[in-house]
């Protein structure tokens, strides 16, 4: 039996452990609920039982359907009581029990009576309950009362009806839209909360009518809205109107900007902040418009209320992404926030400072951050590490101090995610800033000396194996790696053995010493470690003498597999250990999942160790192997570039086909990746018939059909074309899939003997100039540009005509050339009227190309562009200009 609720007793106030709900049980409370059926209701006791029911529900207890129905019916009896407190509890419990449609009918008449009651409290609550449990048919019956309630002189009743309207608009929009007149009247209410809810509902009713919203905003911005919250809403609606309208082209003024600016002087902080944020989020906001907003946000930074400080620094953090210069005035205030008690505020302040700081302030900032790092949680530290990585990529010359900072925090305590973030950052810096390589690698080496995470140790060892041998003095890393063999678990030891072997294979001078170390590993107590050591000792050759390792051996040991790992794993799982050895050639070279993987790779920033070393090169390696294994294409020479797969069919069609364009010096090979998605069909002799009549410079030289294409097992067919050597010929190709289709018996999985020839139209394929360009970035564009020299520089100006925005024009040219944007210059700040974009790439014939694009707005929409190209070959510089001129 549950403890009865005890009336508050002063004597017991000190017994803090005592709970009125001690030992409460669902069964007992349900029993107690029978008091609801008493002919003489005791309101106090009934309220206590409802409280217990609410407590149970709040503690995660659930009622079965039968229990809930029983309680619900009992509760309906309580409408007999005239006790006001009890009636309110009844309203709450009805909503909590959420009765089903057939039960609702029991209470509707009582609730409808309450809705027209003289007691305001009943009216308001009955409206809320009814609207919560009602359906469309009942709503039409009570609509009249709801309309009256909206203009009720008691603000609580009016608000209850209005908020009900907001919820009902989702389910019964037609009915709620009929209340427009009443809602409009409520917007003029003197009561602030009614005005606020009425405005919200009115906007929702009209939100699809742009003109009506415009009118609403125009009239309200002129008048006086009393409620600060309604004012906030109005600011949001105003920003929406501003977004959808255009500037006054003659004066350059933005409609309603004066209203927003005026709100910055409002007495409510909430309104000031809302206005400031609205201004910072305006499209193409100018620094003149931004200044007053930044000024009020700056004042908030030193507010005594943490919420205001947080709101201000969060907004400034966003502004810093697009307008770093505008925020620099607040830097001093933000620096003082680094020591803010609230770590969320401190972290936002630091990440903002890292975005707005200039090269000269980096060192000072790093000093402050060092003190701060020790007392924040890992999740905040990760945000800071990411910001420091971006900063380092922005100011490569500062790599020394930033790298030192990263290595210092790497030595301190921290969880896996945090350590991984640091290691990833160091790896990315090593890859992107050549000068940082040696120091970065040494930091990583020191880290693995005392690293508790096996995953990170093995990843770093793998990375050392790739980068270490290419450094000026590879021998200095050996000690760190070999220490792992002595001190770590088997997984790390095996990784260390592989890394040692890589050094041996790549650096001939180290080979004898590596052999000595590898021989010691032969006595390891772990199978895998011993096996690896044996394998490397037997394959590297030369018996430890200083000889060059055979390329074939290197490829065998450390080359990439030319099959996707998932497929290999599946094939190995399906392999039955038998006399017949596993044949790696039997693994399907499925490229079906590749588009997805590639999309991921391009959309995500490099993630350091977590991701496989840059996706495209390894894909190119795989393609190169694949193509060179086909005799028809063996004579084409070295593969220059393989494009990302281009879909030639819609999603969810019978046959899914995409194509990869492989570019050689004098040839082009189209690799059609086909998937048959019909289980009842087997396709044979699959080819693609290509019509090259719109690609005059190309002549078909070979076609390699696919013998069989069973259900859901992708295969490839190839078509090769010859083209003038070294020329970036372009053209359009139309494609038709031709095959013999055979029915498959679903029960046996066997195909019928006879098949029918069939064709399937695919989409056209275009070969464009960008296909002849490899996206290859440079870490320091300025240096690269200077060192390329002016010999083959070609400069010209172009008019790009009217464009939606500068950003669109920049993107169009980047896509046209297919080059790698450098130093983040592909991002155009929203309000700029001019922009410089830097691109780099390698053109067909391995010619390095650098491009400097200067864009400017000429008149309101016309974009003019100055294109400067430097390359190692004058004809390539000219070709780039031709591409732009003809694009």
């Amino acid at each position: 039996m549950a403890q009865p609720l005890v009336k508050k007793d002063d004597d017991r106030d000190d017994e803090v452990d005592y709970s009125p709900f001690l030992g409460i049980e669902k069964g007992a409370v349900l029993q107690e609920a029978r008091v609801f059926n008493d002919p003489q209701l005791d309101p106090r006791r009934c309220s206590q039982v409802i409280t217990k029911l609410l407590y149970l529900l709040n503690q995660g207890e659930t009622f079965t359907k039968v229990e809930a129905t029983e309680v619900f019916f009992a509760v309906t009896k309580l409408f007999q009581s005239r006790d006001m407190g009890l009636r309110r509890m009844v309203y709450v419990i009805i909503k909590e029990l959420s009765p089903s449609a057939d039960e609702v009918i029991i209470v509707t008449s009582s609730l409808m009576k309450d809705m027209t009651s003289k007691t305001d409290m009943y009216r308001a609550n009955a409206i809320r309950v009814l609207c919560r449990i009602t359906d469309g048919t009942l709503l039409t019956q009570i609509e009249r009362y709801l309309k009256q309630a909206i203009v009720d002189k008691n603000p609580v009743v009016a608000s209850a009806a209005l908020v009900s309207g907001i919820h009902l608009l989702q389910t019964n929009p037609e009915i709620v839209k009929r209340w427009s007149n009443e809602v409009q009247e409520a917007v003029q209410s003197r009561a602030a909360l009614v005005q606020f809810h009425a405005l919200a509902l009115l906007h929702q009713i009209r939100q699809n009518d742009r003109l009506a919203v415009n009118k609403l905003v125009s009239s309200l911005t002129r008048g006086s809205v009393r409620s600060p919250l309604a004012q906030c809403l109005l600011i949001r609606y105003t920003s929406q109107v501003i977004r959808e309208s255009t500037n006054d082209t003659q004066t350059g003024d933005r409609p309603f900007y004066d209203f927003l600016e005026g709100c910055l002087r409002h007495k409510a902080e909430m309104v000031i902040f809302e206005a400031a944020r609205a201004i910072t989020e305006l499209n193409g906001v100018t620094s003149r418009e931004l200044t007053p907003a930044i000024t009020v946000l700056q004042l908030f930074l030193s507010s005594s209320k943490p919420v205001l400080r947080f709101a201000a620094v969060r907004t400034l953090n966003k502004v810093a992404m697009s307008h770093p210069m505008a925020v620099t005035n607040c830097n001093i205030d933000m620096e003082s926030l680094i020591s803010d008690q609230n770590r969320s505020i401190a972290t936002l302040a630091i990440t903002t400072l890292l975005k707005t700081g200039n090269e000269s302030s980096v060192d000072r900032l790093m000093k402050q951050i060092t003190n701060f790092m020790s007392d924040i949680a890992d999740e905040f530290k990760i945000v800071v590490v990411d910001a420091i990585r971006s900063l380092c990529l922005k100011f490569p010359l500062k790599h020394r101090s930033l790298m030192n900072f990263l290595s210092n925090i790497l030595r301190e305590e921290g969880g896996f995610e945090y350590k991984k973030a640091i290691v990833d950052s160091i790896v990315i810096l090593i890859r992107d800033i050549p000068e940082a390589k040696e120091s970065g690698l040494l930091h990583l080496c020191e880290f693995i000396e005392d690293c508790e995470f096996t995953y990170l140790s093995t990843q770093i060892l793998h990375f050392l194996g790739i980068e270490g041998p290419k450094t000026s003095d590879p021998s200095k890393y050996i000690r760190y790696i070999y220490n792992r063999v002595h001190l770590e678990n088997a997984t790390v030891r095996a990784g260390a053995v592989s890394t040692l072997a890589k050094f041996g294979a790549m650096v001939d001078g180290l080979k004898p010493r590596i052999f000595v170390l590898l021989r010691r590993c032969l006595f390891d107590n772990d199978d895998e470690v011993r096996d690896r050591a044996t394998l490397y000792l037997n394959t590297l050759g030369g018996d430890g003498a200083v000889v060059e390792t055979d390329e074939g051996v290197k490829e065998f040991l450390f080359g990439s597999l030319d099959v996707p790992l998932v497929n290999l794993e599946n094939s190995l799982k399906n392999y039955d250990p038998s006399e017949k050895a596993f044949d790696i050639n039997s693994v399907p070279k499925d490229v079906k999942t590749q588009p997805l993987a590639e999309k991921k790779a391009t959309s995500k920033k490099p993630t350091g160790l977590g991701a496989p070393p840059p996706g495209p090169p390894s894909t190119v390696d795989a393609y190169e192997k694949l193509l060179s294994s086909i005799p028809e294409f063996a004579s084409f020479g070295k593969l220059f570039k393989s494009s990302a797969p281009v879909e030639l069919t819609e999603a969810e069609t019978e046959y899914a086909v995409n194509v990869v364009k492989h570019i050689f010096d004098g040839h082009v090979v189209f690799q059609y990746n086909c998937t048959n998605t019909i289980p009842e069909q087997l396709l044979e002799n699959v080819t693609v018939i290509v019509d090259a009549s719109e690609a005059e410079e190309f002549a078909e030289v070979a076609s390699k059909p696919l013998r069989q294409l069973p259900y859901d097992s992708p295969g490839q067919t190839f078509v090769a074309f010859e083209k003038p050597e070294g020329v970036s010929a372009v053209g359009k190709f139309s494609n038709m899939l031709r095959f013999i289709v055979k029915e498959v018996d679903p029960s046996t999985g066997e195909a019928e003997d006879d098949g029918v020839e069939d064709e399937y139209q695919l989409e056209d394929l275009e070969l464009v100039a960008a296909d002849y360009m490899l996206k290859v970035g440079v870490s320091n564009f300025r240096n690269a540009w200077e060192s390329m020299g002016v010999d083959f520089e070609r400069v010209d100006e172009y008019g790009l005509g009217p464009r939606d925005s500068l950003a669109e024009a920049v993107n169009a040219v980047i896509n046209l050339l297919g080059m790698q944007p450098c130093e983040g210059t592909e991002v155009v700040p929203p309000n700029s009227r001019s922009h410089t974009c830097l691109l780099s790439g390698v053109y067909l014939g391995n010619v390095k190309v650098l491009v400097r694009l200067q864009f400017g707005l000429d008149g309101p929409k016309d974009v003019a562009m100055k294109l400067a190209v430097r390359s190692e070959d004058e004809t390539v510089s000219d070709t780039i200009h031709e591409i732009v001129a003809s694009g």
Binding site: D13, N58, R88, R128, H197, M270, A311
Partner: protein, 155 residues
């Protein structure tokens, strides 16, 4: 929308919770996250001093009131400022119901009224209005401000 309102005692046990639009399987995560947040930061904080945090795109404003800690979680239009207003109403209402800063015992004694008040402050994911549960149901106490605490029911 307002995703959650949660009351916990000083040991981190949940006293009252209301979730809106949070799937059941994520509630446990939120509970423990909020309680940990409180344990890490609420020590030594003055009554009703607001603390703020953000987790992904969600904002949390929380405070301590006597023996009880209060957390309000919101997203989109219910940003930190709107939540600060919401929590202000909630704490004012709880103080009014209890007559002073609540001890855990007092809070549980007044459990029914607190649920009632909470229901009238927050309706589904939108703040509706605040009725301080005094003897007179419409006594807004000092709260003409109660009328001002109604954040943005955008959807």
């Amino acid at each position: 929308m307002i995703l959650a309102v949660l009351f916990a005692n000083s040991e981190g046990n949940i006293l009252v919770e209301r979730f809106n639009g949070v799937p059941a399987e994520e509630r446990l995560h939120w509970r423990s996250f909020l309680v940990k947040l409180g344990a890490d930061n609420l020590k030594g904080v003055k009554n009703e001093e607001l603390l703020v945090a953000s987790h992904k795109s969600v904002y949390i404003v929380y405070t301590v009131l006597g023996d009880v800690s209060v957390y309000v979680v919101g997203k989109d239009e219910y940003d930190e400022l709107a939540l600060a207003e919401v929590i202000f109403v909630i704490t004012s209402a709880v103080k009014d119901v209890c007559g002073k800063l609540p001890t855990e015992r007092l809070f549980l004694d007044k459990y029914g009224r607190i649920c009632l008040t909470l229901d009238e402050i927050i309706w589904k994911e939108t703040v509706t209005f605040c009725v301080i549960a005094n003897e007179h149901p419409f006594a807004f106490s000092s709260m003409d401000t109660a009328a001002n605490v109604l954040p943005h029911p955008f959807s």
